[in-house]
């Protein structure tokens, strides 16, 4: 989720490795490519959401009602 760097997935490989340690998820290095692809999609989605201006007062609904 940091600034992209020069790696194919914009620095996500190192992030995945570190985050897996933090979360105590056993990680097979062979999975990192696919996890990185998914994370890249999520990063793009997060960026799209974050571009929308919301006032500080806009709280998430504590109990969501349709």
């Amino acid at each position: 989720m940091s600034e992209p760097n020069d790696s194919p997935r914009g620095g996500l490989d190192a992030y995945i490795d570190a985050a897996a340690g933090l979360l105590a998820i056993p990680l097979d290095p062979a999975w990192i490519g696919a996890i990185g692809s998914n994370l890249a999609v999520l990063r793009a989605a997060a960026a799209h959401v974050a571009e929308f201006p919301l006032p500080d007062e806009a709280e998430a609904a504590p109990v969501y009602e349709a």
Binding site: Y15, L27, L42, A44, A46, V49, A58, A60, A66
Partner: protein, 474 residues
């Protein structure tokens, strides 16, 4: 009144009879519940090897339940509006005596469910008979109907194509004529997509309308349960049977049940119907929009409305899904990571790694979006949109081309459903046949708690022959 032993030659055909017709035949003594169950089990035995909709067939339980109903009818006892009607449920619903597998290998090690899920109990209280559990994508994180543990549910209208997911077994069972009613779940489109691909009707009610107690969750913020069927009346009958508050589900509404069957045939009666433009009018195959236009024309809908920020809503739903789904499964990722479907595992691990502020932002946006979309319902009563961007892709197909862009199938089948379920709007997915090929689906979307309006519109379309759900020729 005739008893069950006087009807030995009656052979109800669950492939063509609706739940409404089966229940009527049971009431007037034309059939028995035992005969219905026997015919259903025979058809499952004959057809389901090709479709693979069922993971559990409950022959003994269903037979006992049917015999009890038949005996009750002979005694003249009231048996309920769905008496004698077989139904089945996605295997994330608790079924007493079975571990609730939710499409996974891991959950098969869970303890057997002590009792049925709440909606199963409500269906059976209305007289319906549970005949089995249905295949689904692992932990409902799926739009394809594929499952590495149980095999894919195949599209009953063309076995080389996807059923859609994650309620793929539910769509397959309805399309194949195995049961008249199946229950599914819908977090981002998992009732509406298989309804579209398998050519059936599906109801995703308002978020909180139907209790989720006794079902295995996926994303608490977005999870809904609902029925799928081959007629709108069957959707309405089962929906009415399942409504009502339930303290066992923290988001279940406290509203009293609002029956829809009595008003189903009221007609359009001045309803303001509009077509969703902008985001919902691009990014799919042309025929997906032709299907919407066909429905709109039949309803006399000429107006278009723009659902604001729909793309951003989809992105936010995507984030919340990944993060909440990962949080739910974190312990299993730590201890049994090798037992997941690899495709689900990789998505869940990625979801676990999303920084919390990004997810919180998506939840805050959700509240803004809800308010903006609800404003539209001051001017219209019903909005039409495609249910899927295309007809069912081929089984195993990894990518498709939409509007000239090559995209992964798994991540993009729900492009038109996610922005709607994100804020819990009620939707009826209706099946449209443009030709002899695979069906398409259209979403009939209403304001929160107005399932009645979406069902009324769907009923009118069905009555006028614009939408229909024929049984696959198997």
């Amino acid at each position: 009144m005739s008893g069950p032993d006087t009807m030995p030659d009656f052979r109800p055909d669950p492939a063509t009879m609706t739940a409404e017709a089966l229940a009527a035949a049971f009431r007037d003594g034309t059939t028995t519940a035992s005969a219905n169950v026997a015919a259903t089990l025979a058809r499952i035995a004959r057809v389901d090897g090709a479709v693979n909709a069922f993971t559990d067939v409950l022959a003994e339980r269903a037979g006992a339940r049917a015999a009890a109903l038949d005996a009750a009818r002979v005694r003249g006892e009231p048996c309920g509006p769905l008496a004698g009607v077989p139904f089945a449920v996605k295997n994330l619903f608790d079924i007493a005596g079975l571990p609730t597998r939710a499409g996974s290998k891991i959950n098969r090690d869970r303890a057997q469910a002590a009792r049925d899920g709440a909606l199963v109990r409500r269906m059976e209280a209305a007289g319906a008979i549970l005949v089995g559990g249905l295949n689904m994508g692992e932990y409902a994180y799926d739009f394809t109907g594929e499952n590495v543990h149980d095999g894919p549910t195949r599209n009953p209208h063309d076995l080389g194509h996807m059923s859609g997911g994650s309620s793929g077994g539910s769509g397959g069972a309805i399309g194949a004529g195995l049961v008249p009613i199946a229950l599914g779940s819908d977090t981002n489109g998992s009732i509406r997509v298989p309804s579209a691909f398998c050519g059936c009707f599906g109801l995703k009610p308002t978020y909180g309308r139907l209790t989720r107690a006794g079902s295995f969750p996926f994303v608490g913020s977005l999870d809904h349960l609902g029925p799928m069927a081959r007629s709108v009346t069957d959707l309405a009958l089962s929906y009415d049977a399942m409504q009502g508050p339930d303290p066992d589900d923290p988001v279940a509404t406290t509203r009293v049940a609002e029956a829809v069957v009595p008003g189903l045939a009221e007609g359009l009666g001045g309803l303001r119907v509009a077509v969703a433009g902008g985001y919902f009018a691009r990014g799919g195959d042309a025929e997906a929009f032709v299907a919407v236009a066909k429905v709109a024309q039949a309803l006399g809908a000429t107006r278009s409305v723009e659902i604001p920020e729909a793309a951003r809503a989809r992105a936010a739903a995507y984030l919340i899904t990944a993060a909440e789904g990962a949080a739910l499964h974190l312990d299993r990722l730590r201890t049994r990571v090798h037992d997941f479907d690899p495709a689900v595992r990789d998505r869940l691990i990625a979801g676990a790694m999303i920084p919390a502020p990004l997810v919180e932002r998506a939840q805050r946006f959700r509240r803004w979006y809800r308010s903006a979309v609800l404003d539209l319902f001051r001017e219209v009563d019903v909005i039409l949109a495609p249910a899927a961007p295309c007809r069912a892709p081929r089984s195993g197909q990894a990518t498709f081309v939409l509007d000239g862009v090559t995209l992964p199938v798994r991540a993009n089948v729900g492009v038109f459903t996610q922005p709607i379920s994100f804020i819990g709007l009620p939707v009826v997915a209706v099946p449209v046949r443009l030709d002899d090929g695979l069906p398409l689906g259209v979403q009939v979307v209403a304001a929160p708690w107005r399932e009645d309006l979406a069902l009324r519109v769907a009923y009118q379309l069905e009555r006028d022959g614009i939408v229909r759900a024929p049984v696959a020729n198997l």
